[in-house]
Symmetry: C2
Subunit: 188 residues, 2 copies
DNA sequence: GTCTATATCTCGATAGAC
DNA sequence: GTCTATCGAGATATAGAC
């Protein structure tokens, strides 16, 4: 991916998050990226192409980050905890991107992403939970249900921690506490 | 609110959920509502006015429904459970409306809603949790944190249950189970 | 690959009769 | 209050020179 492409994606991210898909014309994206309107449409055939490319780019980045953190031979609890913590840190350090994912998720654009691609994104997490159930460390419940409960706790906790009024230096303590609660909930 | 107004809101809900804010022109809303373009703008000065009015209408309906379920002298656990269950049932029975709330939430329109109004919506839930902490029934944690954890579990469980592949006759059982897990997590 | 210039279209909003 | 008709703005996307 060349420089201009990155600039376009970066500008699109900023503007979409600030003004929504509707509220940001391609002309403004091009202007903020420092390229002409024509160049933007050289890289992305349509505006929707751009919206989707941005989503895929962010998802790929998040996926790469998380799998880089997946150490090896820790206990299951530790691996789950690391995954929990790093998801939160990534979200807190990349709030625009995290917001964009959710904005995209609640938009008709989501229909353009194939179900297989979406499923692939959570596969590694599902496997972790499956392993925990098989080893009788986690409650014997449907994998999807446990996964949903864990994920939604990440989302919820993010909302709590992302509040500008919340002191950043207390984040770690709250995350630790929240994971302890989560573990209490899902452990067998 | 007169008949035509309701028809406009109903059409707007259907279309916004299906095609997004951008993807649904006011002309289509008017057509689906069976009124003319001019009439739509008689009731709502701008398209954004309509978007916001729809949000407030849905929120009011949800608020009315939930407070109607708030019985009186049950135990705190039971009241919390009822609130949990009824939130879920409302969401499952009003999926378009629930989706719209979230779609609105992840859009720039949210900025047009005053923080006081948003805070008022969760006041009753916060009080319940506050009471639980004071009575030493719940973990001694920040009220907002516990509220966030409970809410996000509702959202997450909703996603799980709203999946068309999930058999509707097993909903109650899963909701019961999920509340038991939740209670295990937050009880002192 | 990048730009300028512009075609084409659609949408939100208004005017004014009834 | 409701309609028809329409204006003007601004959007996406393309054409074609460099």
């Amino acid at each position: 991916m060349v420089e201009k492409e990155k600039q376009i994606l970066a500008a699109a991210l900023r503007l979409f998050v600030a003004f929504g898909f509707h509220g940001t014309p391609t002309s403004k994206i091009a202007a903020q990226a420092g390229v002409s309107n024509g160049t933007l449409f050289h890289y992305y055939k349509t505006k929707e192409d751009l919206v989707i490319a941005l989503y895929n780019d962010i998802k790929a980045e998040l996926g790469a980050y998380l799998s880089a953190q997946t150490g090896g031979q820790d206990s299951l609890e530790t691996r789950l905890k690391k995954s929990f913590i790093h998801s939160l840190y990534w979200a807190l350090d990349n709030q625009d991107k995290f917001y964009y994912i959710q904005q995209f998720h609640f938009s008709p654009h989501l229909a353009k992403i194939s179900p297989e691609v979406i499923a692939a994104q959570s596969r590694v997490h599902l496997q972790l939970i499956e392993e925990g159930i098989a080893a009788q460390l986690l409650m014997p419940l449907p994998v999807q249900l446990l996964f949903t409960l864990v994920s939604s706790q990440v989302y919820g906790l993010y909302q709590y921690l992302a509040d500008p009024a919340f002191p950043a230096d207390q984040r770690t303590a709250v995350i630790e506490e929240a994971f302890a609660l989560l573990w209490r909930m899902i452990k067998k």
